[in-house]
Structures are given as structure tokens and as C-alpha cells.
Symmetry: none
Subunit: 192 residues, 4 copies
């Protein structure tokens, strides 16, 4: 059942959000998912597979949500950036989110090589780069953004937004229009 696999991954995401990955045992996951411990091993071959899959699933979900909600109601350039910031904020605030730059050597995985984890992350984040493309397509249409755009710029733009959002969530950077406007100004600079 794809259903039960998803149920397990959602439980993991939820539990990590609450208390972190430490002390998250298979028993706890099973209890939270409302199924038997043995059942989990029908769908995953070991604990690390569960975590890996859950991480992949979690990132993928977040990314999908950002990708979709950023463009709701046909926003203009500035609105799109605002949406991007605000939605990312909601997601990061809600709990688990791993930015580009996380060091895989600090995870509790050993059946996966570090590179596998990083590759997975890089791959899952790709749609976020597409978000940048789509946002700036709007900018181009509005004649605010100039072509051609160096592909790296998208990476830097996305990273700027997400890392700033993470600091907002942590309270290091102030949340509000001022910050959003500043990021908008920075975007204009990056893409011109």
C-alpha cells in the first residue's frame, strides 16, 4: 500500500518536527502511526531507509507547496517574491526544513553514503530553482528583469530568500514588510 508507506513517512516528519531526530525510535514511529512495529518493516528494510525516505518526502512536499502557492492568483513580480518569502516562512516555521548547505556528515546515516544524501537533497531542491525561473519570467515580462540571466543567479537568489527566511524564523532577522522589501530590492540588483 502506498498509503501506509506515506503514513509512516508523515509520522516521522511530524515527530522530527516536534522533538528532533534524537531518540526517535521505530517503536515511537509505529505508535504514532498507529500500526505495529513489524508492519514498518514490510515497507522499509531498515530504520535508515525510513529516515531517508521521510526526508526526501518531507523536502519534496515543502518544495511542492512552495512551487504551487507562490504563483496563486497570478502575482506580479513583487507579489511573487513576497509570496515566495511568506510561504517559505510558513513552511520553515512549521518545523523540518533542510537548506542547501546542510552538512550530511552530521546526520545519523551510515547505510547511505554522504553523497547519496546530498544528491537526494540537491535533486529534491531543483523545483525551487524552477520557482526562481518562473518568478523572473514574470519580471522579464514586466520589463523589470533583464535577460540573459546567469543560471547561478537563480541559485543565489533562492539561497538568499531561504537563508533569510530561516533567520527570520530563528528570530535573528525581523519579520515584516521592511525585510521583504529589502529582499525585493536585492532581487532587482541580482537580476539586473
Amino acid at each position: 500500500m502506498k498509503n501506509k508507506k506515506e503514513l509512516i513517512m508523515k509520522s516521522v516528519m511530524s515527530l522530527v518536527k516536534e522533538n528532533g531526530i534524537k531518540g526517535l525510535t521505530v517503536s515511537v514511529i509505529a505508535k504514532h502511526a498507529g500500526i505495529g512495529k513489524g508492519t514498518i518493516y514490510e515497507y522499509f528494510s531498515c530504520k535508515e531507509d525510513i529516515f531517508f525516505a521521510a526526508m526526501e518526502y518531507g523536502i519534496s512536499s515543502c518544495v511542492k507547496e512552495i512551487s504551487e502557492k507562490t504563483f496563486i492568483n497570478q502575482p506580479n513580480y513583487k507579489q511573487a517574491i513576497n509570496n515566495f518569502i511568506n510561504i517559505s516562512y510558513e513552511i520553515v516555521k512549521s518545523g523540518v526544513f533542510i537548506a542547501f548547505t546542510t552538512n550530511p556528515k552530521l546526520f545519523t546515516f551510515d547505510s547511505y553514503k554522504f553523497d547519496e544524501i546530498r544528491e537526494m537533497m540537491t535533486k529534491q531542491f531543483e523545483p525551487i530553482i524552477t520557482v526562481s525561473h518562473k518568478i523572473n519570467k514574470i519580471g522579464i515580462d514586466e520589463d523589470i528583469v533583464k535577460e540573459p540571466i546567469n543560471p547561478l543567479t537563480h541559485f543565489i537568489f533562492v539561497n538568499m530568500i531561504l537563508s533569510t527566511v530561516m533567520q527570520i524564523v530563528h528570530g535573528t532577522i525581523k519579520k515584516g514588510n521592511e525585510t521583504n522589501d529589502f529582499l525585493y530590492q536585492m532581487a532587482l540588483k541580482l537580476f539586473n
Copy 2:
């Protein structure tokens, strides 16, 4: 002995660089440090304290190295940025390094609250922001960078460099003058 405490932390750093944090037992640390297991508990009260201290020490060392080597030989603005990139690259390549945006919920700590870890990281990274200030002081002196600078810009600049460097290390972004020049161009945009 401050000496032995440092010895232990260096062993941890070294071992994490090689094989990651998974499977890093107190026995392994002791063996690598060439001391007895019991001795470690003379200097740290539990395993998590060792990791926390080692992380703090490791970040602090990296940051100090970047802070110093960036300004060797009185570089001009462009050279300073180049230095910043290249030194960061060497350090990130050498192993352990955690960027701003790492999610503490994914670490194997539980005696430390997530916030303690994040605070420590934030605090340790502060000198890097100072690096940005010093680099751009050079830019100002060279009339390449305009005052005043919004403080957030420094955060974004540093983050841009470090996250790009991390991708270079991972092989996702190409290493070379081209990338360095691009980052320099971006810096000029951010600070103007």
C-alpha cells in the same frame, strides 16, 4: 589541561571529517586521541558535551582561519573576495563545516535544546560577518562600494559566498575564475 581537552576535540573533528558522526563512539575517540576512555570523562561530562564542544571549536577554528587569511598581503577588493572564496573552499573541502542554515533538529543532540545549538552557531559565525565588513571597507576605500550598507546585505553576501563554495565542493558548481568573477560581480551589485 586545556591541552587534553583540545586534543579530544581535534580528534572528534578529524573523525567526523573522515566518516561522519554516525558510529563515532567514545571508544573510537579515545583510541584516536591516544588516551583512555575514562580520561575523556575527566574533561567532558557526557558524549554530547564532547560533540557540542567539538562543533563549537571546529566552527570557531574555521571562522578564525577565514577571518585571518582573507586579509593576508593587503588585498584589494577583488582580491579580498577571491581570498574569501578560496580559503572558504579549502576549509569546506577539508571536511566539517556547517553553514548558517543547518537544521539543529537533525543533529544527534538531546541534552542541548535546539535553540542552544543554533545560538552557539550564530555566535560562532559572527566573525564572518565582520569579514564582510572589512572586505567592503576596502571596497569603500576604493570607491567601488557605496555607503551606507544595510546590515542585512552582509549576511546575504556571506551566505552567497559560503553556499556557493559548498556547491563547488560538492561538484554542483564549477570551480574556477569564472565562478569567482561571477561572485565578484554579484557582490558589486549587492553593495551598490
Copy 3:
């Protein structure tokens, strides 16, 4: 399973009888019980709980056995006292048995306060006092023992028997009719 809990406690009793409490590890208990180490922790939350429970169980069993076997075959007063002595002897000789006066501060418990241990012991020994009541009820019926009896006398009588039996087991006091008769004479004095 009440079954397995009992199995564990019996193993502890048996092992303490053989070699004392020192060096009695959870592994050893598990091996002797023929179960896995982890299984023990399904039924007890820590090692001290096992010991506490085993002691309670052990004392309770001994006391129950004494209580029952003393009155087998409707003994007269003298026979009842003889039974009491002989059965106690068998039990004390068989191994674990803790008399009233043991000092709980010398046990290897720390999750239990001394008072808890003492209370448990006092409570478990209560049925022995009842044995004295029943024996002397026979004596009263035979007109050998006079009423009323000060309640303390029962305590002293029981203690006299058990401490003497313990010395017999240790070889300090000679086993035989002579000693039994002496104790009988003493009982007559105490209860008249």
C-alpha cells in the same frame, strides 16, 4: 506474562543462594533464566527493581511455606513449635533468608529508600507473627499457655526461633532435639 516475571525472580533467588548478590549481573540473570537480556527489561524497569521484587517474592515464599507447613497434620503445641523450627531450618539452610534485624543500609539499593526496603520486609514478615498466634492458640487450647498475651511476646518468640535457627544453620548452635526442647521450654516461659 506473570509467568516470565516469576521466572526472573526465581532465577535471582537461585543465583543469590549460590553465590550471593555480588557480581550478579543482568546478563547472568538472563542466561540463568534462559531468556534474553532485553526481555528482562520488558518486565522490570531497572536492575534494582528486579532485586527488590525478587527479595519480596523470596521472603514471601519462605514465609508462606513456613505458615503452611507448620500446621500440617494438626500438631499439638510442642509439635507445632518443632515444626516451626524444623521448617525454618530447611528454608534458612536452603539459602536466601533475611531476618527482621537486617540493616537495609548495607544493601545495594539506591532507587529504593531504606525505609521502603524495611517496610517491605516488615510487611512480608507479618504472616510469621500470625504463625505465632496460631501456635499459641493451640497452647491455649491445651491449657499450656495463659491468656492474655502481650503482642510483643509474639514478636520476641518468632525472633527467638528464627535467630536461633540461623545460628544452627551457621553451625554456631547445635542442631538437635536438645536445642528444640530448650526453645520449647523458653516458649513456655515467654507465654506464661
Copy 4:
């Protein structure tokens, strides 16, 4: 130095009185005695030797105190018994005291055989039997106690007093003249 050996044993006695034998480490003993850990091993060859010696010393001290103070001020028979009870009470209340009937299998010794411990205890307690002899010598002189006395009676008398005292300390038996008088009456019965 006999001085230092005694200092160590007194520390052990004092610490056991306070917190029991559990968790009583050599470090703690050294700290309490105000000497270095290594120094302890100048006087004792292992930890169990310390405990064994301290127990012997502790019992011996108690017994000596009882033996002396019972006969202060040339008491008559009843006063002597009263003294015996009251002094024993003070000593038992003060902490460590191990009665005849303690089971050596429950101690944390393994370099000593159970029999060695028991023998030591039996030997140390001997002077208490002498106390009974001396008390009853007074009784004989007063024509309250009849000769000859079966040697076992002394054992039973001493045991009666001590076990009752222990219950008084524990609060199970009421402290006061009433109890003392009762024990006196019992003594009269035992020795007649």
C-alpha cells in the same frame, strides 16, 4: 600510621550511616577523610578490605560502648537491663548496626567468603554475650535470677533486646518505660 587507618574506617562508618553502602566509592571516602585516593591504598589493599575492616571496626566500637556504658554507676539488675536497652537504642539510632541475623550473601563482598564475614560478626558480637553474663551475675547476686543458666539463654536474651531495639528505632515498637518494663519481665522469665 594506625591513626590514618582508623581515620579511613571512621569515614566509611560515617558515610554508610548517612547514605548507605551503595555508591560509596573510594574517591568519596578519600574526600571525606581529607586524604588522597592513593593514600588509602597504602593502608588497604582493596576496596573490600576497607569495608570489611570498617565493618569490623564499627561493630567492635558499638559493642565496646554497650559493654562499658551498661555498667556505669553500678546498676542493679533492672537498671542494668534498662541501660542495655537505652544505650543500644542510641547506637542503633545513630546509624550502622548489624544484628546477628543479617545475611552475608546480601553484602557486596566477593573477595571474602560469606563464612569469613559471618565469623567476623560472630566474633565481634561475643562481648555482647558477656554483657548478658554480667547483667545476670547482678541478678544472681540479687537473688532474682537462678543458676544454672543454659548458655543459649544469653544468646536469646541479647537477641531479644537488640531486635526489639531495632524495631523501636524503626518505629514499629513504641519507645518508653512500658516496653522497657516488658523486656525486664521477659528477662525474668527467661532466666528463671
